[in-house]
């Protein structure tokens, strides 16, 4: 299963109830296709960095979900046919989070072995012969 982060931007003309209804609708789509909605992050109304259509502000909602590509395809199709969704972006994040977890463990291992002087001893004999021809 893949983990995705789906962000969508909804028109500010929408009422909060309508937005909530849309989110629960999307939740049903995800769960109907064996997906798992991990988190709903509703930022509320936020001012846009530039005008989209005639809007200066819009609702931002971030959905974190687990599932396969078919769910994303269906969600994006619904975003496209819905008039009040002005922008959306789906990003797969499981590979990135896995990589950052891995880096974290590598760092921890590095910092724990930092105290041992062994690697420095190995470098010195190699450096010494290079200086001899001088």
């Amino acid at each position: 299963m893949r983990v995705y982060e789906v962000v969508f931007v909804a028109a500010p003309t929408l009422s909060i109830e309508e937005l909530e209804a849309f989110i629960t609708n999307m939740q049903a789509v995800i769960e109907g296709r064996n997906g798992k909605l991990l988190k709903i992050d509703n930022w509320g109304k936020k001012s846009l960095a530039y005008k989209i259509g005639k809007f200066r502000e819009a609702y931002y909602v971030v959905l974190s979900l687990e599932g396969d590509g078919a769910i994303i395809a269906e969600l994006e199709r619904r975003f496209r046919v819905t008039d009040y969704i002005v922008r959306f972006l789906s990003v797969r994040i499981d590979e990135d989070t896995k990589r950052s977890e891995k880096l974290k463990t590598v760092r921890q291992r590095k910092s724990s072995t930092k105290g041992t002087p062994e690697p420095q001893v190995n470098i010195e004999p190699e450096a010494a012969p290079a200086e001899q021809p001088m």
């Binding site: 962000v7 931007v9 846009l48 922008r87 990003v91 994040i93 990589r99 950052s100 760092r107």
Partner: protein
């Protein structure tokens, strides 16, 4: 901006992300990204920000994603 005195002051290059051990740059974090977009709205080059190449690539991707969602601007008005 004051022209830097050459030879006298040479700031050590430190990648902000390496220093803070950030390995994933979130495109939703407009505040963080805004440090790397000057007034004009362009992506700040590495030679100025000192960000390492790995993080610059991740940063550029994040900025482009954030622009699409109108979190940060494409160009300043």
């Amino acid at each position: 901006m004051v022209a830097p005195k050459r030879f006298s002051i040479r700031r050590k290059r430190i990648c902000k992300f390496c220093a803070e051990k950030i390995s994933y740059i979130d495109f939703k974090d407009g505040k963080l990204l805004s440090h790397f977009i000057p007034e004009r709205g362009k992506i700040l080059p590495r030679r100025i920000s000192g960000v390492c190449s790995i993080h610059q690539r991740l940063l550029a991707e994040a900025i482009k994603r954030a622009r699409h969602l109108a979190i940060i601007p494409f160009v300043a008005d």
